[in-house]
């Protein structure tokens, strides 16, 4: 019997052709991991092409997962284990594997032709290329074929079950519960394909028993009690929007146009029609936004979801929403840009577009989700602010959050705050008339009467409004007042103060993350502390308005480091706003931030400060 080694955490990456079923197997492994009680975080990574040429570097799809017996915030920087379905998968990923890490490779695919395709002169499984690693090379294809031989499938179809053979093997190595996956395969597939997948999975699991591979256990992570599920950022976003609709008593209207990596929000909402969700796939991004704005005018909670290029197209319509002062939630699942850029890769380079990317002075609230499950809260919050403050809100997520998944403590929806649209149903002026631009004195939100309300007939539009009557006004003084008013209205949105996380209270360096860099930044700060240094970290979820105590907090540190997946957009904002020397830490590789690299940088900064101050 194999001995079992205890691990605190491990990072596994499964890589193969984009048609190999990598994402499906990876997703299932994450689910087994959840059932085993570990904390986890995942990073799917796939090419923009649906089926890139087989066996090429460009066609490699991968799925990375970190599992741990403690609270983790990222899918990990570098894998400890790499499953390579073919030479291309090996070549594309070997540079990331930790030295001494485990490689599981399918020898059947290491043919002279496949090796030549990716420029291997010799078979790396046979020469010294992989000497620094543990190599477990098996003919996984042949073993899969043997496992399903009795089912009468053709060779091609039979070989398709290889992803579940590998899942079986990994499940054995990491002591994942197998029963759930068998049930899942029984339910998800039909006929011969179902039988083949089940047989391959069981064979892979059994193969583990017969190999000389080491077996590992990872204890349960201590997590607060509750009912959990696995959730991706896009799913959490969709659910947050639905929850806000339910808590506001409105129907949800989503105007959408397909765009990677936001399309899953459209897909998820399109399947939720029995919950009052109207999904409208428009002719273009502009119409998606326009129809949503129309539905908002008509009294729905209206949202549109897109990525950077789509946000650019919606710009004029969002400006109209600013002028009409109607609620609208615009989700921007950021990806690498500019232009088509890196459609399937992550980036945070739309921050300034979200802040300022409109003509005229057109301020609006900007919120950034900080983790896949955090997308739920951020989406809910975006809807609440939009409805209660009568304003478009931009919610920034990104490709990493969208596709990454983690455990989510399912909230009690009834405990979420009630959202009050407060529609106007009676005249609100001393003259007995309805004035659409009369405001709530505290929030400055305008009165909102829905069409169909008798006696409150009125017209609104993109032309400047008289501050009193709401009628068209070209008065210079009135325009100046309205610009100021629209600015003050956004500033009136209440945002919680920030409190830097500094366990020792002795930090002189503050690292400020926003959105998806929260996880890696938190983890990097932990590493810095484990090295005996002091550091404070904080994450910004509200980018506009910024927390009112932020300037004071920033000024309390000797140095402020801002890691972002762009060329320094938040640091630019902080410098402009607070005259603080916020230093950008820029990464633009289409990948999440590396916590190890960031930790190294932060250690150097802390050491420099110490030297200066000693």
């Amino acid at each position: 019997m194999t001995s079992v080694t205890a691990l605190r955490q491990v990072v596994i990456r499964i890589a193969g052709d984009s048609g190999d079923g990598i994402q499906l197997a990876g997703d299932r492994f994450a689910h087994e991991t959840a059932l085993a009680g570990n904390d986890f975080s995942t990073l799917p990574n796939y090419p923009a092409e649906i089926r890139a040429p087989q066996g090429t570097i460009g066609g490699v799809s991968s799925y990375q997962l970190q599992l741990a017996n403690y609270d983790i915030h990222t899918p990990g920087d570098r894998p400890d284990v790499l499953v390579a379905f073919n030479p291309a998968a090996l070549k594309a990923n070997i540079g990331d594997l930790e030295r001494g890490g485990l490689i599981i490779a399918d020898t059947a695919e290491f043919t002279p032709r496949n090796l030549a395709k990716v420029g291997y002169a010799n078979d790396p499984l046979q020469d010294q290329t992989l000497d620094g690693y543990q190599l477990a090379a098996f003919n996984l294809t042949a073993q899969t074929l043997a496992a399903v031989a009795d089912l009468g499938l053709g060779r091609k179809d039979a070989a398709r079950a290889k992803n579940f053979y590998v899942l079986g093997l990994l499940s054995w190595i990491y002591e994942r519960p197998a029963a759930g996956t068998v049930d899942y395969l029984q339910a998800r597939f039909q006929g011969q394909v179902r039988d083949a997948n089940v047989a391959a999975f069981k064979a892979g699991y059994a193969f583990g028993e017969t190999t000389e591979l080491a077996r590992y256990e990872i204890a349960k992570a201590p997590v607060p009690p509750g009912t959990y599920r696995q959730v991706s950022g896009n799913r959490a976003t969709a659910y947050g929007l639905m929850a806000a609709a339910a808590r506001s008593g409105l129907k949800l209207f989503m105007g959408a146009y397909p765009i990677t990596p936001a399309s899953d929000i459209l897909h998820i909402l399109a399947r939720a029609k029995e919950h009052g969700v109207m999904v409208y796939q428009a002719e273009d991004e502009i119409a998606a936004c326009g129809a949503a704005l129309g539905a908002s005018y008509a009294g729905d909670l209206a949202v549109t979801a897109t990525s950077g290029p789509g946000l650019a197209l919606k710009t004029e319509m969002i400006g109209l929403a600013v002028m009409l002062e109607l609620p609208l939630v615009v989700v921007d699942v950021q990806r690498g840009g500019p232009s088509t850029g890196l459609p399937t890769k992550t980036e945070q380079a739309d921050l300034l577009q979200a802040m300022f990317g409109r003509h005229g002075e057109a301020p609006l609230p900007v919120i950034a989700a900080d983790s896949p499950s955090g997308c739920f809260d951020a989406a809910f919050d975006a809807c609440r602010i939009a409805l209660e403050h009568r304003t478009p809100v931009i919610l920034l997520t990104d490709g990493y959050l969208a596709n990454g998944a983690e455990p989510w403590a399912i909230p009690d929806l009834a405990a979420l705050p009630e959202i009050k649209p407060n529609f106007t149903t009676e005249p609100n002026g001393d003259d007995g008339a309805y004035h659409p631009y009369h405001r709530d004195p505290e929030t400055l939100a305008r009165a909102w009467a829905l069409p169909g309300t008798p006696g409150l007939e009125h017209h609104i539009g993109g032309l400047e409004k008289d501050i009193e009557t709401g009628e068209v006004s070209y008065s210079p003084i009135n325009h100046a007042k309205m610009v100021e008013l629209r600015r003050r209205k956004i500033e009136a949105v209440k945002v919680p103060d920030v409190e830097p996380h500094d366990p020792t209270g002795a930090a002189r360096v503050l690292v400020v993350s926003w959105g998806s860099t929260q996880g890696a930044t938190w983890a990097a700060a932990q590493r810095v502390r484990e090295s005996g240094r002091h550091i404070a970290d904080l994450n910004l979820r509200h980018l506009n308005p910024l927390p009112s105590n932020l300037g004071e907090v920033l000024k309390g540190y000797r140095r402020v480091i801002v890691p972002e997946l762009n060329s320094g957009q938040l640091s630019f904002l902080l410098r402009a706003r607070y005259l603080v020397d916020a230093e950008p830490y820029r990464r633009m590789r289409g990948l999440p931030l590396s916590q190890a690299e960031l930790a190294q940088h932060l250690k150097e900064v802390v050491d420099e400060v110490e030297k200066e101050e000693s």
Partner: protein, 349 residues
């Protein structure tokens, strides 16, 4: 309450509770079109038509884009949105989907609908959203002071085309038919009675109705439709079920030649049985398209007007709404959503 006596296009819209008249629909805003603009007569006709529809004033929404015609909502005492250039059909679609109890109108022009907003127009027609589109066609950009529009004739000299326009214009009716529109009509600002009856038929149609309104711009394109006036003009009235004849005493007609194409000629010389009898309810748009093609694309001397096509198809908004359900009771709705969000694959700590 709603009434089964309303035409299908207004089905679902609540009935007026009292008598309404023209003045009830005029806003207190000063109308700011140029003196003599064709828009005045369209506005007056429209304000006269709405009280006759029998629906509540507050359930009418008028959405416009940008251009002279798009100032329309400000002058109507109904709900209205003056939106951005070309996008009115997009907003109107969202409103129509969200609220079956509203009568939704789009007011647009040739530049707004056919140039910057062309994509939204064709898709609104293709989807057959229950909206009524009034497209004021003056064959010029008026608000921006006189540039060529997508319906300006080839060779036209304007501020943007000092040596003459080199582009062929759109034939609005043909474009709408090509987009699969279920109701397509053409009328004129100066023919108040025809305008009123055409708009009444359009709003009564369930689905996207496009009404092209020839509209004179006195400042930048004066007299663009003058050749269509007078008893001997080339204005060809289309009346469902009637032979297509025009001119003084019906002296001219549209007939089918031996080769199979449509032609225009003296009624008394048309071969027996060759005169076209208009059929607006034909499922295929072939005849409507042939009639649309009789429109002059250059200076307009000949043009059919009336309802080219009027067929019943399911509407996008009705079908989309039928797919969406929700528990009426908020607590039930929340409980159902709680189950949905929880999903089948959970674990409990």
């Amino acid at each position: 309450m709603t009434d089964a006596t309303l035409p299908s296009g207004l089905s679902g819209v609540p009935l007026a509770t009292g008598e309404l008249n023209r003045k009830d629909f005029a806003s207190d805003q000063e109308v700011r079109w140029c003196p003599g603009c064709g828009d005045y007569s369209i506005l007056a006709t429209f304000q006269g038509l709405l009280p006759q529809l029998g629906i509540r004033r507050e359930n009418t929404v008028i959405v416009s884009g940008i251009g002279c015609s798009s100032r329309f909502p400000y002058y109507m005492n109904t709900y209205g949105v003056h939106s951005i250039h070309g996008r009115a059909p997009a907003l109107a679609t969202g409103i129509a989907i969200a609220r079956p109890d509203l009568s939704v109108w789009v007011v647009t022009g040739d530049g707004d609908a056919l140039s910057i907003g062309g994509n939204h127009l064709i898709h609104a027609l293709r989807r057959n959203v229950n909206i009524t589109i009034m497209l004021f066609n003056n064959r010029i950009y008026g608000l921006t002071k006189g540039q060529a529009s997508p319906t300006s004739e080839i060779g036209k000299v304007t501020k943007s085309t000092p040596k003459g326009l080199v582009d062929e214009p759109f034939n609005t009716v043909a474009l709408a038919l090509g987009a699969g529109a279920t109701f397509v009509a053409r009328t004129m600002d100066s023919s108040r009675a025809h305008l009123a009856e055409t708009l009444a038929a359009a709003v009564g149609h369930r689905g996207a109705s496009l009404v092209e309104i020839y509209q004179n711009c006195q400042i930048f394109n004066d007299g663009a439709f003058d050749a269509l006036k007078g008893p001997d003009s080339g204005l060809i009235p289309l009346v469902h079920g009637q032979p297509v004849v025009f001119g003084k005493d019906g002296s001219q007609c549209v007939y089918r030649t031996a080769e199979g194409s449509l032609a225009v000629g003296p009624t008394d010389q048309a071969p027996d049985g060759s005169i076209i009898v208009h059929d607006a309810h034909r499922e295929d748009a072939g005849l409507a398209s042939e009639l649309a093609a009789l429109t002059d694309l250059g200076v307009i001397r000949r043009s059919p007007i009336g309802i080219f096509r009027d067929v019943d198809h399911p509407t996008h908004d009705d079908l989309a709404r039928a797919q969406v359900t929700m528990a009426d009771d908020p607590a039930e709705r929340l409980a159902a959503l709680q189950d949905y969000v929880t999903g089948p694959d959970t674990w409990t700590v």
